[in-house]
């Protein structure tokens, strides 16, 4: 027999059997594929948009903000590099959170009738976001090589920060998805919260150097700080690290654990609530 499943009332809620994990991978793959196929349906330029978007964003933000701050040419170059290195990673992170968190509610009809592991839906969004991230990274990489600004270590460092981006994004997506089953409110607040997060994270702005107390502590608990500075380290070999970055990494890791367990806990009750 190809598979068998044994369920006891006393099974701990965090348990996930091997078959379910396999189903989860298949579902995530199928959903990612679906999203990617539908992404640029009914657009004239199709896949070109994946190239145009990062270029336009980086160029636009650099020119507009550079003018606002009245930067000289050298400053403009630094500002552009600072932004180009961090932006694709940030976009991926916010895509995972903003699309992953409502994914259970959006696929309600399927979720209440099919018992696949619930993490599959946010995971699919992470894969979809990764495609955009990969395209944007190739654009950025090409630009940095032309400007002679790319670090020689980039291929070693980039995967490390990319993995952390996925983990911390998924952590928030899992947690918010688990809460959204009972309280949809979180989904209404989310777009605003992510907008605010963009401005308090060092994405368009350079790395900050706050003390570890009061508002500074809250600043360092933001995983996007480690993401943005991490990509600068990876792409540009800038010396961004401070001891406080450890806090930012730890917060991303902890949220991943908390989110995963929350979603697994809620999974047993999802078809009662949705």
């Amino acid at each position: 027999m190809s598979s068998s499943r044994e369920v006891h009332a006393s099974d701990p809620w965090w348990k996930l059997d091997r078959d379910s994990a396999r189903v989860g991978r298949r579902v995530a793959g199928a959903f990612a594929r679906r999203d990617i196929q539908l992404r640029y349906v009914q657009t004239r330029l199709g896949w070109l948009w994946a190239l145009i978007q990062p270029v336009a964003l980086i160029a636009g933000l650099t020119l507009v903000l550079g003018r606002v701050f009245g930067l000289p040419d050298e400053g403009l170059r630094q500002f552009g590099l600072n932004l180009a290195a961090a932006l694709p990673g940030w976009i991926w992170f916010q895509y995972i959170v903003s699309q992953g968190a409502p994914s259970l509610v959006h696929n309600q009809a399927l979720v209440v009738k099919s018992a696949f592991p619930r993490t599959a839906l946010p995971n699919a969004k992470a894969v979809v976001g990764f495609v955009d991230f990969a395209v944007a990274s190739m654009v950025v990489g090409t630009g940095l090589v032309l400007l002679d600004a790319a670090s020689p270590w980039v291929l070693l460092r980039l995967p490390l920060i990319a993995v952390f981006t996925a983990i911390s994004g998924l952590g928030w997506a899992y947690l918010l998805a688990a809460i959204s089953v009972r309280r949809r409110d979180v989904l209404s607040v989310l777009p605003v919260a992510l907008q605010v997060l963009f401005f308090v994270s060092p994405v368009a702005l350079p790395s900050a150097n706050f003390d570890l107390n009061g508002w500074g502590l809250i600043y360092w608990l933001n995983p996007a700080v480690a993401i943005a500075d991490g990509f600068r380290w990876a792409w540009l070999d800038w010396s961004v690290w401070q001891p406080a970055h450890a806090l930012s990494f730890a917060s991303g890791g902890i949220i991943f654990g908390v989110g995963l367990l929350s979603l697994r806990y809620q999974s047993r009750r999802i078809s009662e609530f949705l």
Binding site: H8, A9, D19, V23, R33
Partner: protein, 366 residues
């Protein structure tokens, strides 16, 4: 004995503070079709949801040996912008089935659903009937050893329903698949199920051969006294309302029988008193109509009696649905107005060995 596919012990599930399912033992073997019957809210769907993994049991345990496909999701979960083919892959993924396996069954399933030529069109251009047919066809052809079926056959047109039933009977059984089938229509249960579980209030009340359990279930449903809903809860215009219905005679096949209906009210026109005779599962068998048989009764308060010279119903239990019309307009409707038990008797001098309640017919063979 063939191998066990589903084995549940002492299974229980609490929903909203009460036990929706309690102390259920269940065993389904390869090639067996097991039906589940019971009133709404008896715990049938809770059982299926628990076994499919959507709900976690609060008590007991179960084991599933083999791949399980659930037909709970027929007709839902299609993405409108994707083609039928892409949706099929998605559906397969939900059950852990690979693209290549789906590719193998897809031509057959599409053929069954009658949409072979439109498989690569977006599902949004399908009619709702086509979507349902594709949903059923896909699930029915999936390479799974166990199927959980929840009233899927209530969907689609009559021809497709018949085709689906035939398919379940001929393919699933012969391929040694195990099916757990929940339905309200007892005649389908009798037709395809080897064994039936009757669940009441979350507890297994009876299990055994399909006909035995279905008969007991009907008897129980019949034994409950028939209370008419109040006039305000009933359908129709309400100008006249039925007051009373008397069943007279010995109600034996081939013997005379009669039913008297009393009503009051003040509508003007010609009344038509209609009694439709249905099987206990709701399937209508025949109609007795005062107007059609030539009685032009004024609609004001009155009574009418239908006399049946030779009762053309086989042994079994039936329900009467009463409707009062005035000049073609419905004024009152009482579903399940009475239950009649027809005793065994001769029909045209012959014994008709019908295992189920059905209408008989005067006939001449040459």
């Amino acid at each position: 004995m063939s191998e066990v596919r589903i084995h549940a012990e002492n299974l229980g599930k609490q929903l909203g503070g009460r036990w929706a399912l309690r102390k259920l033992d269940l065993s389904v073997r390869a090639g067996e079709v097991v039906g589940i019957i019971g009133a709404n809210g008896a715990g049938k769907s809770t059982l299926l949801k628990t076994l499919s993994g959507l709900l976690h049991p609060d008590e007991g345990s179960y084991r599933i040996y083999g791949r399980m496909a659930s037909l709970l999701e027929v007709g839902t979960g299609f993405h409108p912008d994707l083609s039928g083919r892409e949706n099929a892959y998605l559906r397969g993924a939900l059950l852990g089935i690979t693209r290549s396996e789906i590719q193998r069954i897809l031509p057959v399933a599409a053929e069954f659903a009658g949409i072979s030529d439109r498989l690569d069109e977006p599902v949004k251009y399908y009619s709702s009937g086509m979507q349902v047919r594709l949903g059923f066809a896909l699930s029915a052809h999936l390479p799974a050893e166990i199927l959980l079926v929840d009233e899927v056959l209530a969907v689609g047109d009559a021809a497709f329903q018949a085709k689906s039933l035939d398919f379940m009977e001929s393919h699933w059984k012969s391929e040694g698949r195990s099916i757990l089938y929940v339905a309200h229509q007892l005649h389908t249960v009798r037709r395809i199920c080897d064994r039936v579980l009757w669940i009441e209030g979350g507890i297994l009340k009876m299990q055994g051969p399909a006909d035995e359990v279905c008969d007991a279930y009907i008897e129980r449903a019949m034994a409950q006294t028939v209370a008419w809903p109040s006039a305000a809860e009933r359908g129709g215009l309400g100008g006249i309302r039925a007051q009373q219905l008397d069943v007279e005679g010995d109600w034996t096949t081939g013997n005379p029988a009669s039913v008297r209906v009393v009503w009051d009210g003040s509508a003007h026109g010609t009344a038509d008193i209609r009694l439709s005779v249905a099987r206990s599962d709701g399937a209508p068998l025949t109609l007795w109509s005062s107007l059609q048989s030539g009685l032009e009764k004024p609609a004001e308060a009155g009574s009418a009696t239908v006399r049946i010279p030779e009762l053309a119903l086989s042994q079994g239990a039936y329900t009467l649905h009463l409707r009062l019309f005035v000049d073609g307009i419905l004024h009152d409707e009482v579903r399940d107005a009475a239950v009649i038990h027809v005793a065994h008797g001769l029909w045209q001098g012959q014994v008709y060995p019908t295992p189920r309640p059905m209408a008989l017919q005067e006939q001449h063979w040459i």
